[in-house]
Symmetry: D3
């Protein structure tokens, strides 16, 4: 069982070689692996700007900037946590339901072997597939959801699966437990006044950005811990959680959100929760001319890996 | 019955007002209308770069550069041909089959009222919807298809509807007649040697670019006329027909193709065919930083309107 | 009198159809209309980067992201406030004085019919035309001006009309009352030390960003209310008020300014003032590759519409 | 009298130092100077996309790629022809007439000292100012005009000065002689069928692109020489003459035009004409993300300098 | 010995997974391998625009568009020719000589095992390293060089290694035989008239673009075959050979060059030469916003692989 | 001795003329000059994204936005401080050691004549050359370093000179005094846990961003003053100090850093230190599509000039 880690950055520059996440080995051999980063190149369900099918490629590209140690969390990530790039889930352009089924099968292998996955989207609808795969193994899941939208709407254009509806589907399918779900960071106009009542109706907790902005990271983390309890939980991060100035490369951007410094603060505080899976989604590189969204998402994934490393330390 | 035409360009600059195609009136009132330009904002079926859902917006934006008279064809277009912007067909992100059904209904209204439509895509799968709508009214159709790909493949990832398969579907559905179909301009690598045999197997005519490049516009047009005969025919133009230098903003670009000057030459020569519908597809503005693809597509649509005007003159 | 509002977003995606502001009806019929959004596509008077003539198009494009309800202000906007897209004022490239005259005539129609307008620029010189039109109907106006520059300079290159001089012109013309004018957010280097004395000399109030940054939104709003009193007032927002990271797409950007979160906070606090007109200006999409400036400006216009809705509730 | 030329390219890389044209000395000292390149940063009169005020900066930037010898014309340019960067003419945003007056004064100094100027635009309206300055010194001028538009329209929006009207103004002002004017390369739709008759009505010669495309460079040059005769003549090159794929960075682009190879061929053939001034205009770098338009325009200016050098050799 | 080839494109879309060239296996195991594509991420020696260190990444990204069969050459490439992505050579930013040494060692492994390499640059200086590695195995080499520059200059800034000097170095080092070298496509201004004499002085053949443009592909190929004879030869393709409209993403672009259609024609004709190595260089994706240069370079590599396949068929 | 200052901005627009820094005279005549801005166009030593060789050009371009007076510091800059654009240091692509030697010679002239320099990079390795030049004149230097990285690593790829190692080299060469060095703003992952100990081992002070974020500007300035004491000191500002949203155009960007408002606050507080030289580095315009990084860097240079002006007032 070898430690899976990036090659020595003093051998060849970080801009060298086919791009895998953080220059990790690309393999599907899970033997001895602690964590696996994988992509979900799908953008068929986005309601505004498409392009997130190239999100995994873009994040891999800028993840070359990552190094091995997290000095804020004071934790060694690569080299301590055996980590691989597990490749991308297969998708089927134009067919959301088939795509979700194929992603679910792809993630199931990881889940069954208890390798912690960090998924990279892709539009947010893909999270439903991950939740299905993980719930089969871990049972009903809690959810910590950082986003500018709740994604709890009922349907778009008369159809059930979309990047704005999947958490309602998850509740309906019984794979997440509303009593253990917390959605934070919501901002931007709503479709209707009634939208504000949806979280209550479904029994989930919602912390709009206007309120979250008044909470210190540890205060938010405490609320998340209270909400999710000790059960298995999923952490999902939509890059439109942060202000569009920090993540322009995304499908349904909103203005007036958190800075990346604030966002990393909330993420880093989320220790002590039993996360069984993670993802960062909605990176659309066509709208990211300076690659800053991809760099941010790579760092979000790195913070997620840091949480895994901390939980094992 | 008023003449539907752009406002006088000496009143306000062409960059003024909400963007409709060529600054035409946006209306669904078809009374007295000769031709209608409409959009099909769908990119769920593309096999590589997405973004064509914003194709109609981009083409409308640059269509402001169009004027009213075609000096090469020596025909008055706007002012002679009562033309409207008919708006966009509804689509459903993630659901190609439902989307095709909705586009078909949208186009059917035009077809039934014998208003000649010029569709703007959108990925090429949308053409199947247009063919279905038109075949219901006009019967089995011939096809003139300018593209770098034949789009006659059988399936992608086990699924039938894609931007690379719809002309095989059209033949199977009996809405186009292979004996009256001509596909021209094919270039770029193929999936397999056997791909080269597909046109023969299906009974359609294929003129690869390496051969088309040796034909004068009139020679090509003569072949198209021979092939399509006197029956109702559809003209479809995928912007990846031209070299990617002329149309970078597209999903599955190929290098080494025609110049825009050559392409306009082929188009202009296609007089004398009974075209009952037209489209120009695969404009993906995310890859079109200088809007040159959109401008080209707007001109393609203008040439199609010129063909209509010529046929009525 | 029908309610003028966007089409149901569950019918067709928000990226469908010719782009009007927030997908509102484009009409010049003012019957029963409460508010009208209009464009002023002019960039002839900018002193650095041009391009704002395409500002209205860009804002319309990203305004598709808007929905109908403002959850922070807790007010229904569309559906409660009958709102239209009134189109664009005519302009004359190269002729600022003629352009201002044509914009004034265009806005006068709205003003005379007491439809509250929200203008979208265009470079900031256009505000002079709006003030002229509104003063004719409402009398001398107060002004709340959020910007990184005061735009109170005397002349550029020996000529009086420019995007940096129009508020001095407004005072000279007697259409704004300096005693009821407040300019806030100024940052960036000045032409000369004496520039700092201009506000005092003209009798207006100026709150530089270095000072505004220390005020809570409500504190600023209280100062604005004290200054403008109960008379008719105009609210003008130059997108270079915010830091260029949030609004790169503008002609004379400055660094070190407010975040968009701070800016929206100041805007939302401006209740209780008798605003008879609004505008958001200086959107230059050529410098806005990810459309974030346009999205921000669309939201500024939405917050202005929210203020109208609140004042009527 | 020192030879004015670029610094030795073996001393410091061509990307070094403040950008002047071809790294020439920036000076207004005309002593011993043969040729002067200057900018006209004005875009107030463009009828579609603005931005050409940054044309001179962009062309200077890419002119670093130029070297000193023209191997096709077999002529030494820099080092043989004492050449300077004369800086930019002053302009007044928003005031076309005042701007033309200031440019005229700026160019007059060169004209009076018989330094041959090569102007860089700026939108095409600036050429009127150059013609006025040169006609005062040289008398009535002939014109060779490469463009996709004739720029012979009468008025835009009721106003006389525009980038589409200045050659009609020049005829009216008696500074150009229609009998010695030739306009070549016209393509793209026209405002009206009657537009095609304008050249005849005004007595100038027009060679549309569809005809020019059939002429060898020398055939075109022979027609130009026949038309312009032996009198003083101006050569003006609008970059929208070439296909937009080669020059995307321009205000009113057209598709289906010449390649840059064809364009250089026509230019190089124009020997034996008594050109007393030159310009290359309509470079709008906002639409030129890879700087290819600027590079092309720099080469056009280099070919013009080559014509000067050839005429003196 | 398994056939190394891309995964079945009907399993998962071509935009799936970490990007290797044409989705080939990334491995350094050369057993049974016929051809290997590798990158040389170095841009330290470019004399104008840097960025080519990301050339290999960009080409890999767009090589996803490649398929397996070349219909113009009528040859099966992937599936017939066992091909791998061999990764990238190590480089040392700031140290050209050390970098060349490391690239040479990297390529030597391939050369020694008689795996035919297709290198992807990287600025053109890297070719010197490849020539050194290949000459050690194959002896003195011939050269077919398609480029807009001869790269035969003596020195830049007093230093010998640069992307403009390496073919003179190769001659001096005795690793290429001037009598078997042909350089074609040269265009753009030269540093001095004497530059035109360099090929003669060094004893190589030079075909400037102005002459090549008059040759049919087969005529050029015949000259290349005559020049290179039967000995081992290297084929190097600088993407600035084609007009900058087709390959904007490059460091020292020139205007007025060949189209991509012409370029592919010349390449395809080069059968019957004993090429022992190939490269395509100078892809700088920072100047390639629509990825068209990368797509072209991927196709150039595919044509090179096609030549290998043809030579083995 | 004339005052060297920008031309009157009321004569010609700020977008006029060859771009020098702030439109200052470009000269190497140092007579009576107080301060000189110069460029160091070198990017050969960057470890990730190249392009900073065009940093000086980009900063000059946006420095046109600067005016003459700093209203926050209440100090007249231009007009009070005789300032020039001193041009660019020569560099040698591919040769870092030779390049550093040439830059050192270039800066030495300024240092010897006691003209205070403000350098514009270029990758950060160039600062070593400036320190060498200044230490020869002023003796061992203190350092205030704002950056997201300490640049104290030992070597990259076995080579000593890089943009990540030069401050260790400076200590080794004895040209900076570790006891008077302070590095602030560090954020982003590290290569190894041990990296955190490097500052202590070398005897310098390091203030990571997570700590700096808790300090008011004056608190940080007080620490910097305590550290640097009364001796000659250099102030170096790497634009990746600020969050990548504010400075996307840089080679090794990091997320989660300061805003530009915070950064300017720290800079403005640094009064009372005997700075003998300044630089702002790592501007890579290829990743700066809206020129915001260049504008920020121009303002950083303006704040540095303001510190000089304050120290002389």
């Amino acid at each position: 069982m070898t430690m899976r880690e990036p090659p020595d950055a003093t051998e060849s520059p970080r801009f060298t070689g086919p791009r895998t996440f953080a220059r990790l080995p690309h393999t599907t051999d899970l033997d001895g692996v602690d964590a696996a980063v994988y992509g979900m190149p799908w953008d068929g369900s986005t309601s505004f700007r498409s392009g997130a099918r190239f999100g995994p490629e873009a994040v891999r590209s800028m993840s070359g900037m990552l190094r091995t140690y997290n000095p804020v969390q004071r934790v060694q990530v690569f080299g301590a946590l055996s980590t691989i790039d597990y490749g991308d889930a297969p998708t089927v352009p134009g067919y959301v339901e088939e795509t979700l089924a194929r992603i679910e099968r792809f993630v199931s292998t990881l889940a069954e072997q208890r390798v912690v996955g960090v998924g990279v989207g892709g539009d947010h609808s893909v999270t439903l597939a991950e939740l299905r795969a993980l719930a089969k193994v871990h049972g009903r899941l809690g959810l910590v959801h950082l986003d500018s939208h709740t994604d709890l709407w009922d349907a778009y254009f008369g159809k059930p699966y979309s990047h704005g509806t999947m958490f309602r589907r998850a509740i309906e399918e019984g794979i997440t437990d509303p009593a253990r779900m917390i959605h934070a960071g919501m901002h931007g106009p709503l479709y209707a006044a009634a939208d504000d009542d949806i979280p209550d109706e479904l029994g989930v907790e919602m912390v709009p950005w206007i309120e979250l902005a008044t909470l210190a990271p540890e205060e938010f983390a405490e609320r998340a811990r209270r909400r999710t309890g000790t059960g298995p939980t999923f952490l999902t991060f939509d890059v439109d959680f942060v202000d569009v100035a920090f993540c322009p490369g995304t499908g349904t951007p909103e203005v007036g959100g958190p800075t990346s410094f604030q966002a990393l603060g909330y993420l880093r505080a989320l220790t002590g929760i039993d996360f069984v899976g993670y993802d960062v989604v909605e990176v659309a590189p066509q709208y990211d001319p300076a690659q800053i969204t991809a760099l941010f998402a790579a760092n979000v994934a790195f913070e997620m890996l840091s949480l895994i490393a901390l939980s094992r330390a």
